[in-house]
Subunit: 370 residues, 2 copies
């Protein structure tokens, strides 16, 4: 198994993106940045991170088992879940590895730039009442969620499996979702059933959910104990990756060059806009720079969006004069967290919210008679 | 404009994938290879190649103009088009640049591996009767299709615009599509209206269609005369890229390693399957190798699929014994065209149908008692 599954590594200085990273980039779709225009991301434009293969599951035969440290283990089919209370949450979800490929040195894994995000309306049944119905044991500590996707990672064969601390699992938020944007889940988003944990990076929202197991100890499986930890050195225990750090993204103005994706803009008034979100607390301020970070000005925030877990739109009035610019935005949330302008590095490239940089060339004023 | 939009180039020997190529790979989604299991590719898994930005079009206000060398220019809204004869074609579409990133030396552009393909059911109205109704002039030569996506490419600002020779435009096949897989077009697939040209590489199927113009000369616009031509040297006129060359893809068996995407398989009988297609003529044979091309054996072809333009499923019974393998398949079509096992290089990396290579590690036989 070790022949096909190597240990984690960090790229050498100046090392280009490898064939392996490119293969992951082809599979794991990012949000095209112009899609920041949509309040709810249309099907097929929401980011995707799939650890192994999309499994082929039959909804009719699908069962969810709830077991472990509960008084009454349950086995539920999709009809059982649909008969339970139904809620819809609008949730902005982001991959924990977003921004990884911009780090220096670059952790070698799925090479995200800044676009591993999307907002969807997830419909399903809340998790907490189901756990209460099963009867949580007094010594319950972690709740483990198992997906049907199977593979090997750093030498360890596994079904994808992630735990939430009990306190997070029983919050008002996590739901067992069977619809996305009003339609049955697409195969790549976890059909027929997935977990959605609002406010947490995407690794917590286990797709293709088959089992929920309550433990009386901390879960020591691969995705919690080995992957998804903030570390400077490979031999550290590290700190778990949990909630989404604040981030603002600029919807790039003007029109693009095909190859460089650099932006071209005609001179004159221009409304720069984008979205901002945080998994810790509501976004309370967005600031914009058009001079590469020398000065920052406040953007106008749209009224609070539908629900506490969805991104918030912002706008900034700019008069674009001929020349070259670097545009960025940074979000501040109610907990006081914000985004760094210099990278904060960790070995996995997780929870990185370095500000985005958008290169814009504003064309010369047209000559009279043009 | 030239500051943001550089000339085409070929990568240096050993040069890794650049940040620019990675940015394109994040935007332009590929088909995850396990999705070869679906006859019709689900929403969001079909490949996407978007030259500029996805435009934001209002279906209610959308108009299609048909003009140029016709007797009766037409302006049609979506209701007009929906009132016309309605057809549904199942079409396998592939990007002309598929396979580019595997070429040596590598043309620097959207860095596709082998997954730039998908099959959809497109519903709309046939193109040929509309052209006849407008009254084609006797001197008509080319039909130009203009999309609403706007950008700059190699220094040339443009709306995306591609022409078909008249003979191809009036064939039974091209349609003006307003639905994909039974639903209104998604924004990224050309909403509210696009051209679909079965059998041709995807660059012909202009998305976000606003205008059809009949010319009495060969169209000399960028996408026909500069891009999408087969050339060895940059100063050649080159040969236009047209119909899809035959290709077979293997649906990778077993399960993957997260990082390398190498496959792991337990020993024993294994049905290897995949899809094959050609834009020139029906696929009549698929051959499989499990020894890296030393020997080839015929695969079993499924009965002809729905319509002449959709991929065909194939299967091959393999007994996997412990060890390491390279699996490939190659398609042969009724015109005698097939796939090379050594690359056929051109500067744009177009129409490349080099056989895919799938690395498989078959695990040792379990020990008794395991």
């Amino acid at each position: 198994m070790n022949e096909v599954s190597a240990p984690a590594r960090v790229a050498d200085p100046g090392e280009g993106i490898s064939a392996e990273e490119l293969r992951l980039a082809g599979r794991n779709h990012a949000l095209p940045l112009e899609a920041l225009r949509y309040d709810v991301t249309p099907a097929g434009l929401h980011y995707l991170l799939i650890h192994y293969d999309i499994p082929d599951l039959d909804p009719a035969g699908h069962r969810l088992v709830l077991d472990g440290r509960v008084e009454r283990p349950l086995t539920l089919d999709l009809a059982d879940l649909r008969d339970r209370p139904r809620v819809t949450h609008r949730v902005t979800m982001e991959c924990a590895g977003n921004g990884r490929a911009l780090l220096d040195p670059r952790p070698v894994s799925q090479p995200w730039l800044v676009e591993a995000v999307g907002t969807a309306e997830w419909t399903g049944t809340p998790l907490a009442p189901l756990l209460r119905e099963a009867g949580l044991a007094a010594d319950a500590v972690d709740v483990v969620f198992t997906g049907a996707d199977h593979g090997v990672e750093r030498g360890i064969e596994q079904d994808y499996r992630r735990a939430l601390p009990l306190a997070a699992a029983v919050e008002d938020g996590p739901l067992l979702a069977y619809e996305m944007n009003g339609a049955p889940l697409l195969p790549q988003h976890g059909a027929p059933l997935r977990l959605v944990v609002p406010g947490w990076y995407g690794m917590a929202s286990v797709k293709w959910l088959t089992r929920i197991t309550v433990l009386n100890r901390e879960f020591d499986g691969y995705q919690n104990a080995v992957a998804y930890r903030l570390r400077q050195r490979p031999d550290e225990a590290g700190v778990p990756v949990t909630r989404i750090e604040p981030r603002a993204l600029v919807r790039p103005p003007g029109f693009p060059d095909f190859m460089s994706r650099g932006r071209v803009l005609r001179p004159g008034p221009c409304t720069v806009d984008g979205r901002a979100w945080s998994g810790h607390a509501p976004v309370v301020r967005v600031e914009v720079t058009t001079d590469g970070g020398a000065t920052w000005s406040p953007a106008e925030l749209e009224p609070a969006p539908a629900g506490p877990w969805a991104w918030r739109r912002w706008r900034y009035a700019w008069t674009a004069r001929p020349g070259r610019y670097v545009l960025s935005a940074r979000a501040v949330d109610a907990s006081g967290r914000t985004q760094p302008v210099e990278q904060a590095w960790n070995r996995g490239g997780f929870a990185n919210n370095l500000v985005q940089r958008v290169n814009v060339a504003v064309l010369p004023e047209p000559e009279p008679g043009d």
